[in-house]
Symmetry: C2
Subunit: 451 residues, 2 copies
Amino acid sequence: MSASRRLHLNTNVTGMGRHPAGWRTLDNPKSIVDLGFFTSIARIAERGKLDAVFLSDALALRGHAHGPSQSLEPTVLLTALAGVTQHVGLIGTASTTFNDPFNLARRFASVDHLSAGRVAWNAVTTYDPQAAANFSFGEAPDKPARYARAAEFVDVVLKLWDSWEDDALVADRASGLYADPARVHAIGHRGPHFQVRGPLNLPRSPQGRPVLVQAGGSEAGVALAARDADAVFTAQTTFEGAQAFYRDIKARAAAHGRDPAHLLVLPGLYPVIGGTLAEARQRKAEMDALLERSAELAKFAGALGVEPTDLRLDEPLPYELIDSGVRSDVSGGFIRSTVLLARSENLTVRDLLDRNPGAHRMLVGTPETIADDIERWFTGRAADGFNLNADVFPSGLEDFVDQVVPLLQRKGIFRREYEGTTLREHYGLPRPPSRYADAQAGVAAAADAVS
Amino acid sequence: MSASRRLHLNTNVTGMGRHPAGWRTLDNPKSIVDLGFFTSIARIAERGKLDAVFLSDALALRGHAHGPSQSLEPTVLLTALAGVTQHVGLIGTASTTFNDPFNLARRFASVDHLSAGRVAWNAVTTYDPQAAANFSFGEAPDKPARYARAAEFVDVVLKLWDSWEDDALVADRASGLYADPARVHAIGHRGPHFQVRGPLNLPRSPQGRPVLVQAGGSEAGVALAARDADAVFTAQTTFEGAQAFYRDIKARAAAHGRDPAHLLVLPGLYPVIGGTLAEARQRKAEMDALLERSAELAKFAGALGVEPTDLRLDEPLPYELIDSGVRSDVSGGFIRSTVLLARSENLTVRDLLDRNPGAHRMLVGTPETIADDIERWFTGRAADGFNLNADVFPSGLEDFVDQVVPLLQRKGIFRREYEGTTLREHYGLPRPPSRYADAQAGVAAAADAVS
């Protein structure tokens, strides 16, 4: 471990927490559209010196009878959170399939300006036929189509973020020159999916470019991450599997001429914390008792691509029926890693439901055992850090911040204070130059010729 | 004038003020991407009890060498302003040509939640070939195509905003019912431009629906406003012309079975304020002296659809060359009303440049003459209020709030305190029921059959 290598921790906000029945333990379970609910999460994260708040997203309503789901639009909500926090990073999910690159580039750059450089875009391709039905698609685009569009979409967004050089905004009252046309560049993108002249209509943002996160576990997703992303979110259930993923994607980044340290690998983690193991188990059991088993079974079956009647509680998964290649987003990663775990540990459907399938690797334990596990994965290069999934907000996050973070700080792997101001600085990432800046003109021309 | 009829005033934010050289008088002319600049505007508006801050928008960069233009994305910026204000309404412009209805409906509803009911969407169709070039359009869509899409786009957005009934979010911890499926409705929209299943993925917003503003002056724009809008923004240069527009659109609203009082007519107004007329003229002259005449001439020629060499400073406009039907958004309205004014007063190009063409009706005067003019238009039913265009922020708005607003209050036509909390309440508009609510099921079914 190099002296400068540091653990990174985000709190992943999805619904009101990862446990499907967690909301039934809350005093104000309607607060899914209240700024106060999210402000509380962001401030706890900041108190714990976490790198970022990460908002999941969905573009269709499902399961709303049984619990809260992602509602407020992420860039809007992150802007509100920027106003009530000072340090914590702000990561928003947005789909490359159901957005337009000019609007998306502008929106994230706008949040970067208004947050003084704390924003990241988590690019997903959105496997969800119900989302497609909200966006005038006759049928949902298949994976190759989604990833071909995604790769070009990301390319356009990165060019737009580079289209103003850092010092292009002159605002010289004496001469009347506001922005220097020589330092504001049309991007002239012409590809199969997008033709975008540019430039973007706002000056370069504080981070140069918002941080780019990629969250797909498929080959196409990993390839995209290795080339362009600053961080990759991934579902990993075993230490060895995570190490292999880590080695592979870092090698791919290096093959693109990148410093592998500048592509962070951040698996999901779902800690359930108690003062003793028994207390942790009790916390989980109390929420589990509130679960609607039939709804959970139906949701799990849907994610596996089978019918609920294909699943029997005390038998293994019907592996022959499972189309393991269906999904390619992180949810798909959940499922693949769940199936992997089920095979390797010979688990029943009931065992799997107990672990809230569709969530991330679950650790039920004390602050000490959870901190030790995090350290092991971090030092063993299975992860550069984690997306933490609280079982329910705010208490799940609060327990982590108050009880686990101090142990990680004592181990010397996690910051005691924020050392920078931007999310790039929290993540140890350099601020990228504009590809169009003078010194790089040759490189930019070459890059344009390729695209 | 009915006892309850009240004047409505928005501050229209475009660039750093309406005067093209105003930024050259500012201490910090780079602040176009700083929240502080906009916070100051919003707080002054709130101090003056104005109805709303209204953000113009553009989707391509133009004229940036000569001055600031709209940069930060409006829904993001309005969210930030919601956090630093308590009362003032928040109006954002967004294009029906270069957005998707599901994303747009969700974004504005999200801001409505986070601002406790203060948001409005100003729907525009965006005549701008340079915007089209940023959105993968082979060529800019023509006006009929834009308005056909706009009418259906607005229809989809209004349905999505209605898709959750007010009381659909139950969050009953005991039964485990989170949202009541009987009160959350698919919209099943199938039209020529959009096929959207719905429902929206967030609960009904505080205003029921965000306020809907329409800003096109063409026949198609007026027809859309009369049917669906809560307010119409318009460019009017003459009292009689404004009265005729007012009568016409109120009659059209009535023909749709609407209460004409619930469609506000808000022309633009560009006041330049001085303690005396000479001081007001001096204020304008100082800014005019900083204008780049050649850039202004080029901009004006572009807006007229002619070449700069077609314009001669001391001659009338080349009416035979002017394609007066080209533009249909408010900018087009500016141009049409400017051409009308030029003809009726036999103005030269120089005269027109002195009035900052492309802006709204300019009033250079004292607080008294400006307040009297506002009262005349209001009581004469040429307007229900105005979009105020400050020459430069913040001083142009500050002068209006400190010097003109007290006179309007004394005349008894403008509020002394906010009487409600939402923008609908400021505007005197009722909170609409969901078309899908039980009592209205028959109406909703009929409406769906039509669309």
